[in-house]
């Protein structure tokens, strides 16, 4: 490499970059192209929640608030034992504390928590960043179906299970 060729190369690269299209995404005007599995907000599928409290206990900054009470159900058969069941009273995530580690989503054994790519929920009052269960339930509608890991990957087990169930049902009707 001859003396000073680096200077010429620097000039050439900057000039070439200037003539090409910039890579900037013009966010407020156009929505950004987010990668799959983006961590925007945590959604709660409360029908699946059993109030096991694993998410609240594993949360590193304790931003999940859960209240519940026990209900007793009458025995399924006469003379049987009464069943007790947890009922969710409050489920809230304080997104002003949340650090988006996703541990709660990982540990949930009943698939009640999901990542949604929605990110536009800034507030002017920090208290409004605590999303209660109705708002967390609303985010559920924005959760995308999990993308395949590669083009040749098996389909996600949720979809496979749902399809198998649907096929079985269709076969029974025939």
């Amino acid at each position: 490499m001859s003396y000073g060729s680096g200077l010429a190369k620097g000039l050439a690269i900057t000039l070439r970059t200037m003539t090409r299209r910039s890579v900037t995404q013009h966010y407020p005007e156009t929505q950004p192209e987010l990668p799959p599995r983006s961590r925007g907000v945590i959604a709660l599928f409360e029908e699946n929640c059993t109030v096991c409290m694993l998410c609240a206990r594993e949360c590193p900054d304790w931003c999940i608030y859960i209240d519940s009470h026990k209900e007793t159900l009458p025995p399924a058969a006469p003379g049987g034992r009464e069943r007790s069941r947890n009922v969710l009273d409050r489920f809230a995530i304080d997104f002003s504390l949340c650090m988006y580690c996703g541990i709660c989503v990982e540990v949930c054994p009943f698939d009640a928590l999901f990542w949604s790519p929605e990110f536009e929920y800034a507030e002017t009052d920090i208290r409004d960043l605590t999303h209660e269960r109705d708002r967390l339930r609303e985010w559920m509608w924005t959760v995308p179906e999990p993308p395949p890991l590669t083009d040749a990957a098996e389909e996600p087990k949720e979809i496979a299970a749902a399809r198998k169930a649907a096929d079985r049902q269709a076969g029974a009707e025939r």
């Binding site: 900057t14 090409r20 910039s22």
Partner: protein, 319 residues
Amino acid sequence: MDVLDVAVRVAAVFVAFLLLPLLVGQLEHKVMAHMQGRVGPMHAGGFHGWAQLVADGVKFVQKEDTVPEGADRRVFQLAPALALIPYLIVVVAIPLGPGGAVGQVVDAGIFFVLAVLGVGILGSLMGGWASANKYSLLGALRTAAQLMAYELPLLLAAASVAMAAGTLSLTGILAAFEWWWIPWQLIGAFVFFTAGLAELQRPPFDAPIAPEEIIFGAYTEYSGLRFAFFLLAEYAGIVVISALTAVLFLGGWHGPFSDTLGWLWMLLKTAALSFVVIWARVAWPRLRADQIQSFAWTVLVPLALAQLALTGVITVVIS
């Protein structure tokens, strides 16, 4: 020369002095952004952020104007004005077009312009000295060392043109200009432009400012409007050095249809050189303080002397 004529010329110089540096600043925002694959300011003023520098100015005016406790107050507060005003005075002497389109014809134009340009550096030196801050002092002394080193090649290169034209007047030089001066004075142009860049402390010669090592050098303690004046002085300096290079080495207003479009040629040449100044900032890393010194003494001064010898020989041969 009546009062109205003087008033119009002063007003025109003032408008050019306020407008052109802002245009160069905006150009720098956009060119630097696109050279880095970005888009730069997009929102201020609506269309591609054209009013970004106006918004910056409003922001600077709103900021508190602080003076450090141990500072030499009067000197500290005077420094930005001393950095800025010399460039305004230089603009007066730079010819824009043929037939007296110049703020004021100065007979010893080159002397005047280069002498006044050197005063601007005093602003940085005063600011750095008065700040009572060791980084500011380091920056100011680097500025002073750089001025000492680069004033010599700057003067020698300018002297070469004055020798070729046989006059010290900027308008006189342009009147004597021939197209073949451009290849003839090419080395001088390179020396003059590079040394001018170094006097402005623009990258790659910005060791006196060096935000990453000595925190903006002499400007560390400045805030608000006074800091904005230093920034404005930098961009005014780009305009002045580009315009002077255009006048001395690229024929100023000379070009096709120069009778009517002379001013446009002058502005185009200045803009092109300003683009090169910005380009150098984006493309090249900063030189160390000692590399800056050795570049001046071992490369630029010999080149300037060689140009001077070449000019002398050819002038004698053709006369």
